[in-house]
């Protein structure tokens, strides 16, 4: 297997990284809304959020991607397939991230909020200055984990025709008859990306302030 092929795989992996990163960020924004709806205590908001989360966690991502890819044109939204892929990945990761955030907010120690209010924080300030930062701190490891899951799951957008790492590997394996070398190299690239993300996440986590109890 020549260096040229490996270079093509590396270039394609930039798409994998880009698609995953954008999806995680959009998913995070949606997850904030979802977890807010779930914690609002009002059925009107929490019930639809619950159904959304249950659906996107209960259906294989492959099926979600195929559904969104085929559904969008039918309901009159014509977008490039890369947009459909990012929409699919974002909605899926939003459901998982919302569960994480909900758990994080639920496990902020009650005493911290009470003492903040005791020293004169308004409820709004206590939420902004105490609850949100601690919840985010608590859920950071889960976020890193989710990033790795999405990097791996992004291989599925190859089925809607996006030439990211997996699709490039498939195309090259077909044209060169070197499936062993090419899929192993693609796997190695995924492995390195994930190791870097895990290591970076660990370093960032250690530099964050500790969790008060």
């Amino acid at each position: 297997m020549s260096l040229k092929l490996f270079e093509l795989l590396l270039k394609a992996s930039l798409y994998t990284i880009g698609i995953s990163l954008i999806s995680i960020l959009i998913g995070f924004a949606i997850a904030i809304l979802l977890s807010g709806a779930m914690l609002s205590g009002r059925k009107f908001f929490s019930a639809p959020a619950q159904i959304f989360i249950s659906f996107f966690r209960g259906v294989p991502l492959l099926v979600q991607l195929l559904l969104i890819y085929n559904l969008l044109p039918v309901i009159g939204i014509n977008v490039p397939s890369i947009v459909a892929a990012i929409v699919g990945l974002s909605l899926c990761t939003a459901a998982y991230q919302a569960e994480n955030l909900r758990g994080g907010f639920a496990s902020v120690p009650r005493g911290l909020i009470e003492s903040a209010e005791m020293v004169g924080f308004t409820p709004g300030q206590a939420f902004r200055r105490i609850k949100v930062p601690i919840a985010l701190r608590l859920t950071f490891p889960a976020l890193v984990n989710e990033a790795i899951l999405i990097l791996k799951a992004s291989s599925l957008v190859s089925v809607v025709g996006i030439v990211e790492l997996t699709r490039m590997a498939q195309d090259l394996a077909g044209s060169t008859f070197l499936p062993l070398e090419i899929f192993a190299s693609a796997g190695l690239i995924y492995l390195v990306i994930n190791l870097v993300v895990a290591r970076a996440g660990g370093l960032i986590e250690r530099s964050l302030p500790g969790i008060p109890r």
Binding site: S54, F55, R57, G58, V59, P60, L61, L62, V63, Q64, L66, L67, N70, L71, V74, I75, I148, K152, A153, S154, S155, L156, S158, V159, T166, A169, Q170, A173, P179, L180, F183, A184, A186, G187, Y190, L191, N194, L195
Partner: protein, 222 residues
Amino acid sequence: MIFDVNVIFDQLPAILRGAGVTILLWIAATIGGAFFGFLVAVGRRYGGRLVNLPLGFCVEILRGTPFLIQIFLLYYGGPFIGLALDPVPAGLMGLTVYGAAYYSEIFRSGFAAIPVGHIEAAQCVGLTQGQIIRRILLPEMTMLVLPPSVNMAVIILKETAILSIITVPELTLTVSAIGSQQYAFVESLFLLALIYWALVEAAGRLGHLAETRLSRYRFSQS
């Protein structure tokens, strides 16, 4: 958009066959994955460094790469090393190995979480090694590993959909093939999503039921 459900329901027998393949693959891969995962975990704990390091290396590779890449490597790369498998055996083998990697980590943390005091206490009252494993380690570990094991079983159920890409005739392949024959792609994909949703919800409920039933075996920590 005309949402015609009838075109789908005419194909019910084929859909049920696909669902049957999915469920069989799921059960076989989950049981196989848990079994081999247990062996790997035991090997890594008691086998010394020479066993622990290479097994740990394999587990890391399997957990760090997408399942789709693993299955492509096995299905398209296999014939080049004398491992030419049909789609179904290749899919089952790939899914089992993938599941085993994750299950081995679940069991490993299960072993590690059993308090040493429990084992020492059992030794003090005169239990043999075999009794300790049967009477202390296994029941305590079952409670600890059950929730993540149920979780993993659900993940494996969802991963079976990926096997459609290497033409395993399971639910996703069957239903999307019907969809393209009948020009009812969106309807069939909706149905597909609903079937998976129902299966996953049912599996999750069953898991919770098992957890509550077995919770009387739960030991207090420390």
